[in-house]
Symmetry: C2
Subunit: 214 residues, 2 copies
């Protein structure tokens, strides 16, 4: 493994664990047992490091969103898509911790990150519209379903669920993180599902939970 890649891997690990703002170039160099000067040889500074990690993240997520649009609209496929997106977010979760200050500090990333969130939002809206048209979701009363607000709420879960859990219970492994996020989304959509679909999603979730048991 090239040193440059090594630096990226270790930085991602440290950023996720302690937060980007709490780490100096020296800290990262220490963890790698190299000198700070050496680190600066590979990356001009933390800025370039973060930019590179963001590029990785964006590339991956955009591919996932693309895949979701291309994929069919069955409940199963949409369900699976939720898992992989959440896994990816977990992998780069430091971007979702103190996001405001992070983007303020690195304006180069700011616009890209906001555009990505917008894409994700539109992708969720499209998915909900599809599920609605196919009758998977249905209003249970005289009122229309508020797709936009439901999509907002799902974005809220995507974006802040991890930080929220840390704020309340401290630390959370990938499995617990995804488990909780999925349960939130299920609770959000359950009232619009018939008994059959709801049972199906519960089973999907139970299956996933069993597979991932530590």
């Amino acid at each position: 493994m090239k040193r440059r890649d090594m630096i990226l891997v270790v930085s991602l690990k440290l950023f996720n664990e302690e937060g980007e703002a709490n780490l100096t170039a020296v800290d990262i160099a220490n963890e790698l047992d190299i000198s700070p000067g050496n680190l600066y040889y590979h990356f001009k500074g933390k800025e370039e490091l973060v930019a590179e990690l963001y590029k990785q993240f964006e590339t991956g997520i955009v591919a996932l969103l693309q895949g979701a649009n291309d994929a069919g609209d069955t409940l199963e496929e949409q369900w699976l898509h939720l898992y992989v997106v959440l896994e990816y977010i977990y992998l780069y979760r430091f971007f979702f911790r103190n996001t405001t200050d992070l983007l303020q500090k690195y304006p180069a990333i700011d616009g890209h990150f906001r555009r990505l969130l917008e894409q994700q939002y539109q992708s969720i809206r499209a998915m909900l519209h599809n599920l609605l048209e196919e009758g998977v979701l249905a209003s249970n009363c005289s009122e229309e379903i508020r797709i936009d607000e439901l999509a907002d709420n799902m974005m809220l879960i995507y974006t802040y669920w991890f930080e929220f859990q840390n704020l309340r219970k401290r630390q959370l492994n990938q499995h617990k993180f995804i488990q909780g996020a999925i349960l939130q989304i299920m609770t959000l959509l359950a009232p619009y599902m018939g008994d059959m679909q709801r049972q199906f999603t519960e089973e999907c979730n139970a299956l996933y939970q069993r597979d991932k048991q530590d």
Copy 2:
């Protein structure tokens, strides 16, 4: 107005606008047209300043939660309570921006803030239970209502709605902030309400929006 109070007022304003981490003692002194040395005479540093502001915030919120428990359980009263809590959160919104790092930086506040969130969560759960018992909320299918997850979602809105909006649309005045948050919470609970209650809440909201029109 005493200088000490003046410092608190101006600090709160700046913290809300630019974020606590982005302001130095010198910045605050400049805004007040006093010298940094003078600021340090009144407060040992930013830490003491933030601690004092947090004390104000906690005192206010605890009083509101207490009031909610004492008040009746009609939908109107609970509705009004939402507004005042959200107004208070908006007033001290810098605590809800980059919260993780803020609490890490000031351990003295950390425990208190977490306890406060827990109280708020329990207060919401109690409210939902009451509304359920009185038949204001009711499940529309064979499944029980997931109170805990709904309460989690409401907490998510309380805690991150403002930061989320800033992340997507930049800037938001108090009115727009509360309007959006309320709409989210309404969307969350609407499926469990009958047509009558839902119309009532819509009217409450319309009334509030008109009153607060700029």
